[in-house]
């Protein structure tokens, strides 16, 4: 079945797709978002870790391989809002050095743009959806920008208890910027600090797409079609333009949605899968893949978690899942001898019973029961995110197995290199030193399987089709009306949580698309 042609069809109704939908619908464009999962409502966001799993990834699995398989299900999204429906909303930005990795360090890639090109959009996003934090305090590490529209979030003992130890270790901590409301913002209430952010915030204090960009997009006329799984991007016979997408609807009926512009915003692993599965005789390696780089340079962050048990009640049930404090002090790429890459240091966050149990994953039986009682009020943690360098071997490719619609499954192959492992170890060592200096009666590193957090790359931006898949706006080098959005277009990842940058790049890309509309539809 063929639907009426629209201006823009957006594949994926998560963070990046929602920004585009809002900007373009407000610009008068007819926008349709196709989302493979349900259309979650705020009333679906039950305060329960158990029920909260409903909003985590489902549908066709991604096959995971490599030394460090990407553990995407714990953090990924499924359905309207995507991962941003239940994200932690830590909003650190990338720093200028992240954009110049090749020229400064001979590693990875240079971005085709500089920090200064993105900075105005960080500020714009903050004004649009609300960010709480202290910009002046951060500016010891980054260029000055606008103040955040809301003051920092409240802090609790589980965060404050670390401050002296960090100071003694030469790591100044400042209030963390978060996409949450410390005060009422644009009619959305202030946070209640009960730590259920990771299963979704039904009051709208967390800046999820439903209460920000996607809500605005819907008001401006954008249509969201849930349970709609896109399997191919379609092209004209000459292979010079995309013409729309093929998808299966909520009744598993095959549909075609024609559009002047196609935007892929289906997450770092799914966008390459779609491009590769859309191969034609004119694009035998897949769309936008003359470089052979579609699916390559997948990246993840590693996380060094340090836990400590205190004698006092640290109120660890209070706060948000986002962190209270952060530091860029270890962000310079050579902060640790024998290791390379940025580290982003954080402390202070609410924990739930799953976190308590996972903080000592080796315990079971009566020892676990005893530990849970002690940890219930006395456990606190610090987490240091570490950068991975882009590696062409870390990739998404098509598998021979197929999903229920006959589309090949994606296979995600990921291994951390020796730089990443060295940085992870260095961050553990420093975290343990801080914890020991904090007065904790016990402190330990949460080692075990090396964690993967966030997934970036696969459709990286660059200066030409020789070195990348898209330009700095997310536009395909080869097909002018095919665009890609989200963390997949990052050519390097830094150590900062990516969503603020995803929003900023999407805002920048969407405004570009709107302003250059005439060139896209010729």
């Amino acid at each position: 079945m063929t639907n009426e042609k629209v201006d823009v069809v957006i594949v994926g109704a998560g963070a990046s797709g929602s920004v585009y939908a809002s900007v373009l619908a407000k610009a008068g464009k007819k926008v349709v978002l196709l989302e493979s999962g349900p259309d979650w409502q705020l009333t679906d966001l039950i305060s329960s870790e158990i029920w909260g799993r409903r909003v985590k990834p489902a549908g066709a699995p991604i096959l995971l391989e490599g030394k460090n398989p990407m553990a995407y299900a714990a953090q990924g999204g499924w359905g309207v809002g995507g991962a941003a429906l239940h994200y932690y909303a830590n909003f650190p930005r990338l720093l200028p050095t992240d954009f110049r990795m090749k020229s400064e360090h001979g590693r990875g890639h240079d971005w085709p743009i500089a920090y200064e090109d993105v900075a105005p959009f960080y500020d714009k996003v903050a004004r649009e959806i609300g960010v709480s934090g202290d910009a002046r305090a951060e500016e010891k590490w980054r260029p000055a920008g606008e103040a955040y529209p809301m003051p920092p979030m409240k802090t609790f003992r589980n965060g404050n208890i670390w401050l002296k130890a960090f100071e003694a270790s030469g790591i100044p901590m400042v209030p963390a910027p978060v996409g949450m409301n410390s005060v009422e913002f644009k009619g959305r209430p202030a946070c209640l600090y009960d730590g259920w952010c990771h299963v979704g915030c039904p009051i709208g204090a967390l800046a999820n797409p439903q209460v920000t960009y996607l809500g605005e997009a819907r008001k401006a006329g954008a249509e969201v079609r849930a349970w709609s799984t896109v399997t191919r991007v379609l092209t004209n016979p000459a292979g010079t333009r995309v013409t729309g997408v093929e998808y299966y609807d909520d009744k598993h009926q095959k549909q075609t949605q024609e559009a002047s512009v196609v935007l892929l915003a289906a997450w770092s692993a799914q966008n390459p899968r779609l491009l590769l599965n859309s191969a034609t005789d004119k694009h035998p390696k897949g769309l936008g893949n003359a470089s052979g780089l579609v699916g390559h340079f997948m990246m993840s962050h590693h996380v060094a978690s340090t836990w400590a048990m205190f004698d006092e009640d640290v109120q660890n049930h209070m706060g948000t899942i986002a962190v209270q404090y952060m530091s860029y002090e270890r962000y310079p790429k050579k902060s640790h001898d024998g290791a390379f890459g940025s580290s982003f240091v954080t402390a202070g966050f609410a924990v739930k019973t799953t976190d308590l149990a996972n903080s000592r994953a080796d315990l079971y039986g009566p020892e676990l029961a005893d530990y849970m009682k002690r940890a219930a009020r006395n456990l606190a943690g610090i987490k240091t995110f570490g950068e991975e360098q882009p590696n062409v071997e870390n990739r998404v490719e098509l598998a021979s197995e197929k999903d229920e619609f006959g589309m090949p499954l994606g296979r995600l192959i990921h291994s951390f290199d020796s730089d990443a492992v060295a940085l992870w170890n260095a961050n553990f060592e420093e975290g343990l030193n801080v914890a020991r200096a904090s007065g904790a009666k016990e402190a330990w590193s949460a080692r075990g399987t090396m964690p993967t957090s966030h997934l970036l790359g696969g459709t990286i931006m660059g200066t030409s089709a020789a070195n990348s898949v898209v330009n700095s706006y997310g536009q395909s080098h080869e097909l002018p009306n095919l665009w890609v959005a989200g963390p997949g277009i990052f050519p390097t990842e830094g150590a900062s949580n990516p969503t603020f940058t995803i929003f900023a790049l999407s805002q920048r890309g969407a405004e570009r698309m709107a302003s250059q509309w005439g060139t896209l539809t010729n």
Binding site: T43, S48, I203, G204, Y364, L368
Partner: protein
């Protein structure tokens, strides 16, 4: 934006405890209640249920009484995208029943080979020792998914039924503070 109440003002209208079949009629109850009422399993056989209870109790005390086997059984009977099992978070590929069935087979095969009887028939001390070795992938001749992965998923399920509920929070003295309260205190 939907006009939502603040903490606890709104309940999840369509969600409650799990649906169990009693005498051909679906009834909503917590897994522990289903166990206490001897609700028949939907997919598991008696031995599988007994083994899951023994494993759960070894991993997290009170998991048996909290109905871990009934919880897993009920969750295996719903479509994977509706499942609340930790298998989903651990990137286990559906159907999840395959994971649990093969895990039970691996555990029993190893238990019989090393200790001469099925896991559920071992003494509590032997069960504990066995699980400790399974956690460390130190059971020789083990087949199937790595023991550490089986440990992680089953332990997480047991943590859910014992500590993940409102009663679990209450037992630990942690204020639950829901925005939207799960019905039936689940």
């Amino acid at each position: 934006m939907t006009n939502m109440g603040r903490r606890g003002f709104v309940k999840g209208a369509t969600l409650g405890a799990l649906a169990f079949t009693v005498g051909g009629v679906e009834a909503i109850m917590a897994p522990g209640e289903a166990r206490a009422r001897n609700v028949p399993f939907r997919l598991l056989d008696a031995h599988q249920g007994e083994t899951l209870e023994a494993l759960g109790e070894t991993l997290v005390p009170q998991a048996r009484e909290a109905g871990i086997a009934h919880y897993i059984d009920q969750q295996l009977s719903v479509p994977p995208h509706e499942a609340l099992l930790q298998a989903r978070i651990f990137n286990v590929r559906p159907p999840f029943a395959d994971f649990y069935r093969t895990a039970i087979v691996s555990i029993d095969e190893s238990s019989r080979r090393i200790l001469g009887r099925d896991f559920a028939q071992l003494s509590a001390a032997d069960q504990r020792e066995f699980v400790g070795r399974m956690r460390q992938n130190k059971i020789e001749g083990w087949t199937g998914r790595p023991g550490a992965a089986v440990y992680a998923v089953l332990r997480a399920d047991a943590v859910d039924v014992v500590y993940g509920t409102m009663e679990g929070y209450e037992a630990l003295g942690i204020p639950y503070m829901p925005h939207i309260t799960p019905e039936k205190r689940w």
